[in-house]
């Protein structure tokens, strides 16, 4: 039986750009699928096709048991959409915004009012309920947008980059809200450029690039595909790199990579913490001073890199909260791939 969200061979072209090139998805009821990919990969287009906003050129889509192409209006009754930008009327108060959306979901005015009250409380917006949304912070607007999308407690939710542009504190808060939602049984499809976010929230992850799902699985499964754990060492003095390399080669199960400018050496290993202790002892014996050492499991960045041959690029101008993503940023090394870079330039997704 197909899941709460099911897509088969979705294709959508804009001019000569193939934004979706045969997307297949299957999200079991009550689970979260993270759609992970860089800008222009086709994430937003996928969401727009599944939420009836865009008609795919070909393919099949079923949401909440309803055919998206044949019963769009029935689908709209069963879904909530929180788009890439907080879609709230900034001159309306928080309360008025939710009430309006409720009424447009065909709730009676009174029921919409009562529901708005509940949601404002639940999303910590009760104090600001009667202020125009214009006065809200970015995080508050996002919460308001999400609250509006949840007015009828739809069984299936779509969130397109819900935390893009939020500061770390607001991102954490929103993650909590999303987790609560999923505990309540909602099926959720979430797109994100943040590998950390997918890791954190999603049961399953589908990696998209150039309009196709290029890998899927749990976060652990995907990480396993890029190989096991590895030891990373940052030595204090540059001249110690060759000796350190020798030491690591003795323990490693593969080639040692060296980053000269950061004095970082990495080698794949098996043996876990015990082995790490041995490496430290040996380095100490050889008199190599180290700044940092650790056993690292592959991050989703590594997964992305090994799957696509390029890193998940995040455009600076699009989100001020880039710094919040430091962990990912550090792992992202610029890989020059002129072909990909060119395609990316043409394939500009609707982000305005």
């Amino acid at each position: 039986m197909p899941g709460a969200i099911y897509a088969e061979g979705l294709v959508k072209t804009f001019g000569d750009v193939r934004a979706l090139d045969g997307v297949d998805l299957d999200v079991p009821e009550g689970t979260v699928l993270g759609l992970l990919g860089p800008n222009g990969a086709g994430k937003t287009t996928t969401v727009r096709c599944l939420t009836t906003l865009l008609r795919p050129d070909s393919g099949k889509a079923v949401v909440a048991g309803l055919d998206v192409l044949k019963q769009p209006n029935e689908v709209r009754r069963s879904i909530g959409l929180s788009g890439q930008f907080a879609a709230v009327d900034e001159y309306l108060t928080g309360r008025e915004n939710i009430q309006m959306v409720g009424q447009l979901y065909q709730m009676k005015a009174k029921a919409a009012k009562a529901r708005a009250e509940e949601l404002l409380e639940q999303f910590h917006l009760a104090d600001a309920a009667d202020r125009p949304a214009k006065t809200y912070s970015g995080g508050m607007r996002r919460r308001l947008d999400l609250a509006a999308a949840l007015v009828v407690s739809p069984p299936v939710m779509f969130m397109d980059e819900p935390t893009t542009g939020l500061d770390p504190r607001n991102r954490q808060q929103l993650w909590e809200v999303i987790k609560q939602l999923v505990l309540g049984g909602t099926t959720l499809l979430l797109t994100t450029q943040y590998l950390e976010e997918a890791d954190h929230l999603a049961h399953d992850i589908a990696v998209v690039d150039h309009g196709r799902v290029i890998a899927r699985g749990t976060s652990d499964q995907l990480k396993a595909r890029t190989g096991g754990e590895r030891v990373e060492v940052v030595v204090h003095e540059r001249e110690h790199i060759p000796t350190a390399r020798e030491v690591l080669a003795g323990f490693g199960k593969g080639e040692t990579t060296v980053e000269e400018h950061t004095r970082k050496l990495t080698v794949p290993v098996t043996g876990g913490a015990k082995l790490l202790a041995e490496v430290i002892r040996e380095l100490d014996v050889r008199g190599i001073e180290i700044d940092d050492i650790g056993l690292r499991r592959p991050t989703l960045d590594d997964v992305f890199l090994s799957l696509t041959g390029h890193v998940a690029e995040v455009k600076d101008d699009e989100n001020g909260a880039n710094g919040a993503n430091g962990a990912n940023g550090a792992a992202a090394k610029p890989v020059k791939d002129p072909k990909n870079a060119k395609d990316r330039g043409q394939k500009k997704e609707t982000t305005q």
């Binding site: 709460a4 009821e29 727009r48 939420t51 009836t52 906003l53 865009l54 008609r55 909440a64 048991g65 309803l66 209006n73 029935e74 709209r76 009754r77 069963s78 879904i79 959409l81 788009g83 890439q84 930008f85 907080a86 879609a87 709230v88 009327d89 900034e90 001159y91 309306l92 008025e96 309006m100 959306v101 009424q103 447009l104 979901y105 065909q106 709730m107 029921a111 125009p132 509006a148 009828v152 407690s153 739809p154 069984p155 049984g185 909602t186 609707t350 305005q352």
Partner: protein, 281 residues
């Protein structure tokens, strides 16, 4: 999937016509609340026509020949129907900018993902603009009375003239809706909504007697939908300068104005709803 049936139960399908009216009113209310929170927009919308009244009546007043006289008092009475009509058409820009703004901010996406009547977002907006137009027209009429404009007909005829003006304004906001859905930014919708209105309102009988234009231009002016409303108002107000042209719209201005407005609504509403259905922000 029990959750699905729950959702369907609270949002039981209703008669499509009732739903359409209800949804339009919800959206209209939203736009009216919005307008009331941006009063400067309403005020600027008022200042402009008042400025036109004052400028035209006092600057051009003494040099315009209406029905063989250059009496500024006669011109002032002649002018008002033109200013009223021009004012209602300027609502086009507001509707266009509002809809473009909704597109830009992602609100149209939100609306399109809701189980609401398809045309309701646009109908709601145009209805809210109609309310604003009525308010503007009321204030403008008061100012017109202050500078000496008078009607010389029955109350019913005057009311009919205002009805025609509102219908014309409503029709033009649908043109604005199409513009708003076609451009990328609200700014573009504002200028795109206004620019073409200048030739439309000036190549007409609104500010000068079209009989004095060169023949081809007079022809355009006589058949201009906008002129029909102006001519109808002049007739219904009993104001001077009613055109004696034998062009059909000038001979039957009330009918012409009604037909033009209904045609504009039919064409541009269809276009706008079609554009809305495939709108991408």
């Amino acid at each position: 999937m029990s959750a699905v049936t729950d959702a369907v139960r609270i949002t039981a399908p209703t008669n499509p016509v009732t739903q359409s009216i209800r949804d339009s009113l919800v959206v209209a209310k939203r736009n009216l609340i919005r307008m009331s929170r941006i009063p400067e927009m309403v005020i600027f919308g008022l200042i402009q026509p008042i400025m036109f009244v004052v400028l035209f009546s006092y600057v051009f007043g003494g040099s315009m020949n209406i029905g063989g006289t250059t009496d500024p008092g006669v011109y002032r009475e002649f002018l008002m129907a033109g200013i009223f009509a021009q004012t209602v058409t300027f609502a086009t820009a507001g509707a266009g900018a509002g809809i473009a703004d909704d597109m830009h901010k992602g609100l149209i996406d939100r609306f399109r993902s809701l189980p609401m009547a398809r045309g309701a977002v646009l109908t709601g907006r145009t209805l809210a603009d109609l309310v604003q137009t009525a308010l503007t027209l009321f204030v403008l009429a008061v100012v017109a009375l202050l500078v000496g404009w008078r009607t010389h007909t029955s109350f019913g005829e005057v009311l009919g003239a205002f009805g025609l003006l509102l219908l014309t304004g409503y029709a033009f906001t649908w043109i604005g809706a199409v513009i708003g859905l076609s451009v990328r930014t609200p700014e573009a919708a504002t200028s795109g909504g206004l620019i073409w209105l200048f030739p439309v309102t000036f190549v007409s009988n609104a500010f000068v007697d079209s009989a004095q234009m060169t023949p081809w231009l007079r022809h355009v002016a006589d058949w201009n939908p906008f002129s029909a409303t102006v001519q109808a108002c002049r007739q219904l107000f009993g104001n001077p300068g009613v055109s004696t042209s034998d062009a059909w719209p000038m001979q039957h201005p009330v009918w012409a104005s009604l037909i033009y407005s209904i045609l504009i609504i039919a064409i541009f509403r269809t276009l706008a709803v079609r554009k809305y259905r495939s709108a991408t922000a």
